[in-house]
Amino acid sequence: MLVTGIKSKPVYASLRADLGGRYHLMLGMGPGAAALLRVLAEIQGSASSALQKTRVLLVPDAGAALTTIAFDHLGLSLVSPFPDTASLLAAFRLVLDESLMGTRLYVAGPESFIGLAMKIALEFDLNKDEIRAEEVGTLARRVYCIHCRATTENVRNTIVTCTGCARWLLVRDHYSRRLAAYMGVMADAEAPGELPPVKVVYL
């Protein structure tokens, strides 16, 4: 229970279109774009006029080219590429601010990307019946230090050094949607310097 078997760990499904929505807003990172294309095909296949109201925000994996070419055949006017996650999320916030009830949000990418998008969506009171997400890409985690409150990004190991306070943190499956991060607790609090074996698991 300390590390695994914790109910707050998010479970993701394969993305499907929610045709009950009137507008569709999609966020994709790297290979997550393929999942969005699948949903767009489904919406197109339903003969719904919603496709023209669909907005897609994309960010490539680090180092990859900025492109919307895979989406060009759909003739959508609102497919926007962003150079990094921060600029995509800033634009996402502006889009949400002018979006209307009836909008469905789709997010495809690594969990850390999904978590950051969901965190913003929550501020706009989007409920879980308005958001769908598919995990595509790295399992690297955002880890929140429960001691100093710093968040360490791109964590791949079971134990990590906190970027805020340099404590050794044990990475738990306890996930906070509000913080979009897993909880990290001091691993050697009882016996300083004694650590269990460190494994690389979040690849």
Binding site: L100, G102, D125, N127, K128
Partner: protein
């Protein structure tokens, strides 16, 4: 909930606000403060009529910040089973009544970014209390209130005083109606809609919201059903080992209570689900009138809400 947990109140004031609606002010019989509540709550008023007891749910319309009294609005129902007529004809200033503690089945969503309130007729009452929670806050809101004609617009003076132009009125007599499609097509993300009034209004709002792509979690409604009349039938209570006759004009719950068996309840209007009772045997059909069970659960027929639902049957055995 049972009668041991009721509060004694005294009627402090009565005002006839329209030809059909009376406004009652209730104070604690011992002069103390009444229990706290939030906007959207209702109480059950227990009435000891000459022939039978009535227990009707009424929304609290007074401010949740004023606990020296509660206020309710009672519409005189044409086809009353007695409760609203009792309130209108028998209750005077100084009358003692019993009420059950407030329960909220129609609360405002705390993290909504906007509230749209839609009232029809007497359905305005829960909103009067909710507005008290809203009008000092930062969250935008609007109220759409439809009534038959201007003389039926209960509590409008009070609404105009406190809410000004946030209240939009619609009069059937002048062929005015809410443009639900227009209203629900143009709300910002994070809006919640609340509707209280006749079944037709509620169904219209639910259907329009769905067609505009609203998820169920953003659509809130409340409608207390009066228990409908129906064929008389007998029910056997397996744990109490009692056979109870349910007359055509008395509800299943009222009949069971009259036989001395307590059924847990909160709303007595088919909303809360608290009185859900297992059906052990049935020869006949259940007549479900509640808003709680899903269609699939109703079809399955293994449970019933005795507050409003009935049976047309040769025999019925309940787990009570």
């Amino acid at each position: 909930m049972n009668d041991a947990q009721t509060l004694a109140v005294e009627v402090a004031a009565i005002e006839q606000v329209t030809s059909l609606i009376k406004h009652f002010k209730l104070a604690s019989a011992d002069g103390g403060a009444l229990p706290a509540f939030s906007g959207g709550s209702h109480i059950i008023v227990v009435m000891h009529g000459a022939a039978r007891m009535h227990r009707n749910p009424y929304s609290l319309l007074s401010s949740p910040r004023e606990l020296d009294h509660y206020e309710i609005g009672v519409r005189r129902m044409e086809e009353s089973r007695g409760g609203s007529h009792f309130m209108h004809d028998q209750v005077r200033v100084g009358s003692r009544l019993e009420i059950a503690h407030p329960v909220n089945l129609f609360a405002l969503d705390k993290i909504a970014r906007k509230h749209v309130l839609i009232a029809g007729g007497i359905g305005i009452t829960p909103f009067l209390a909710q507005l008290e929670d809203l009008h000092d806050g930062a969250v935008p809101y609007e109220l759409h209130y439809s009534v038959r004609s201007p003389e039926h617009a209960a509590f409008l003076t009070r609404l105009r005083e406190r809410e000004g132009e946030k209240v939009r009125m619609y009069y059937d007599s002048e062929n005015q109606a809410v443009d639900f499609d227009g209203l629900l097509s143009n709300q910002p993300l994070g809006t919640h809609i609340y509707v209280c009034g006749p079944a037709g209004l509620i169904n219209k709002v639910i259907a329009t919201a769905k067609s505009c792509g609203w998820p169920d979690s953003h659509v809130h409604w409340e409608q207390f059903s009066a228990p409908p009349v129906g064929d008389a039938f007998d029910v056997f209570l397996s744990r109490s080992r009692l056979t109870v006759h349910v007359p055509h004009d008395q509800s299943l719950m009222e009949s069971i209570e009259a036989a001395g068996v307590e059924v847990p309840y909160l709303c007595r209007g088919g909303v809360c689900g608290y009185c859900q009772t297992r059906v052990l045997e049935l020869d006949g059909e259940l007549k479900h009138y509640d808003h709680f069970l899903s269609d699939a659960e109703k079809a399955k027929g293994d449970s019933i809400m005795p507050c409003v639902s009935r049976a047309r049957c040769k025999s019925l055995v309940l787990d009570l």
